[in-house]
C-alpha cells in the first residue's frame, strides 16, 4: 500500500510524516497499515504534539463534514480511538484520558454550529480508560462517564441503547442492575420532554445532574466531573433569573 502523502513536506520516516499520514488516511486499511508501523517511543515522547495536531486538523475538518458520514466516522470512531487505546495499553492513562477529553470538547464545540451530534464514543472511551486504570477513584470516574455515554446513546438511538457498549460495560463491569440503567434512560426521555433550550439537549451532564440531584442515592453521586462550560452555563442561567 502506498503510504506516501503527495507533496509531503515532512522528512521521510519521521514522526511528523507518520502523524500527517495518519491524520490524512482515507480508509481503515490505510489506518491499520500505519498503526502497524507506529513508533511507540515517539508516541510517548511527542504525545502533546500529536494531540495539538489532532485538534488543529480534525476540528476544522469535522466542522465541514456531515455527522455520520464515512469520513466523520473514520475520524471520530477510528483515528482518535486507536491512539487512545494504544496509550492506555502503554499505561499512559493520563494521556489517553486527555486525548478523549479533547475529542469530547471538540464535538461539544461543533454542536454550536451543527446542532446536537452523538458524543457517546469519546465518553465511552474515557470511561474505558478509567476502567483499565483500575484504581478506586478511576473506577468511580469510569462509571460516571459510562453513564454519560449511556445517556448519549439514549438521545441518539432511543430504546436501542441496550445494544451499545456503554450499557454492557455498566452491567458487566460496574455491576449496575438493569432497572437502575432503565431509570437513567427514563430520566433522559423525561428531560427531553421538559427542556427546550438547545444547550440543555446537547450536554448529557445536565441530564445526569437532573437525575442525580434528587435521587439522594449515595451510589449515584460518588463522582461528578466539573466541566467549566456546564458550570458557566448554569451560573449565567441563575444570573439571568435574578430579581
Amino acid at each position: 500500500m502506498e503510504l506516501k502523502e503527495p507533496n509531503c513536506k515532512y522528512e521521510q520516516g519521521s514522526w511528523s510524516e507518520w502523524v500527517h499520514l495518519y491524520i490524512n488516511a482515507t480508509n481503515e486499511g490505510e489506518l491499520n497499515a500505519l498503526l502497524a508501523r507506529i513508533n511507540l517511543q515517539w508516541l510517548q515522547i511527542w504525545t502533546q504534539g500529536l494531540l495539538d495536531e489532532f485538534q488543529l486538523h480534525f476540528e476544522p475538518r469535522l466542522q465541514t463534514l456531515t455527522p455520520d458520514s464515512p469520513e466523520w466516522k473514520l475520524i471520530v470512531d477510528q483515528k482518535w480511538n486507536q491512539i487512545g487505546i494504544i496509550l492506555a495499553q502503554l499505561g499512559a492513562f493520563k494521556w489517553a484520558r486527555l486525548l478523549y477529553h479533547l475529542e469530547y470538547s471538540i464535538l461539544c464545540r461543533i454542536q454550536s454550529s451543527k446542532g446536537r451530534v452523538h458524543k457517546g464514543t469519546p465518553l465511552h472511551q474515557i470511561g474505558w480508560v478509567e476502567l483499565v486504570e483500575g484504581t478506586r477513584e478511576s473506577l468511580l470516574r469510569s462509571k460516571y462517564f459510562m453513564k454519560l455515554a449511556l445517556i448519549e446513546d439514549c438521545l441518539t438511538v432511543g430504546n436501542e441503547y441496550k445494544n451499545l457498549p456503554a450499557f454492557r460495560v455498566l452491567r458487566a463491569e460496574h455491576h449496575l442492575a438493569e432497572p437502575v440503567l432503565a431509570n437513567l434512560a427514563k430520566g433522559t426521555k423525561k428531560w427531553l420532554r421538559s427542556y427546550d433550550e438547545q444547550f440543555d439537549h446537547t450536554r448529557p451532564e445536565l441530564i445526569y445532574l437532573d437525575i442525580v440531584r434528587d435521587s439522594g442515592n449515595s451510589e449515584e453521586s460518588d463522582y461528578f466531573h466539573l466541566d467549566p462550560d456546564i458550570a458557566k452555563h448554569l451560573l449565567s442561567r441563575v444570573e439571568h433569573a435574578g430579581t
Binding site: L209, D214, S221, F224, D227, K232, G242
Partner: protein
C-alpha cells in the same frame, strides 16, 4: 449550586426539599472525604439561595440561622448575588454580619455567606468550593477583617 457541590466531591445533595411547613433550597450531606476541614461543618448543611440584587440583610440571616438551628445542623450556606450588609464595616460588625456572628456565638451555628464572585471563582477553577467554604467559615468564626 447542586452541580458545584456534586462536582466538588464528598457531597451529596437533595434540592427543593419540602417539609410540612417550609421548603429548603438544598440539603447537602457532607461526607468530608476530600478535605478534613470540612468535618467542621457537620454531616448536614442547609443551603439557601437569595437571588436578589440587594445585599442580604440581618433579618434574612436570622431567619436562615433559625432554620439551621431548627433542623439541628451546624452550618448553613447563604448564597447571594452581591454579599451581605455590614460586610465592609471596618470598625465593628453590624447588620447581617453581626447577625452571623451572633448565630455562631449564641447557637454554635455558622452561616457561611457566598456570593456570585465566589461562584465565578469556582467555575473558572481558580479556587475550589472547599477552599472558599473554609475561607468564608474562618472569616465568620474568627470575626476576621477583610484583608
Amino acid at each position: 449550586m447542586a452541580y458545584l457541590f456534586l462536582s466538588a466531591g464528598g457531597f451529596q445533595v437533595k434540592t427543593n426539599v419540602k417539609t410540612f411547613d417550609e421548603e429548603l433550597d438544598l440539603v447537602v450531606r457532607n461526607l468530608a472525604t476530600t478535605n478534613p476541614m470540612l468535618r467542621e461543618f457537620g454531616r448536614y448543611m442547609l443551603v439557601e439561595c437569595k437571588n436578589i440584587k440587594l445585599r442580604v440583610n440581618a433579618k434574612t440571616v436570622r431567619d436562615f440561622a433559625s432554620k439551621v438551628v431548627y433542623h439541628s445542623c451546624r452550618t448553613g450556606i447563604l448564597i447571594s448575588r452581591t454579599g451581605y450588609s455590614g460586610q465592609r464595616e471596618s470598625v465593628a460588625a453590624r447588620d447581617a454580619r453581626l447577625a452571623m456572628i451572633k448565630a455562631h456565638q449564641r447557637h454554635q451555628v455558622i452561616i457561611i455567606p457566598l456570593n456570585f464572585t465566589h461562584l465565578r471563582e469556582i467555575v473558572q477553577q481558580r479556587k475550589t468550593l472547599a477552599d472558599i467554604l473554609v475561607q468564608q467559615y474562618e472569616k465568620i468564626r474568627f470575626d476576621m477583617r477583610d484583608s
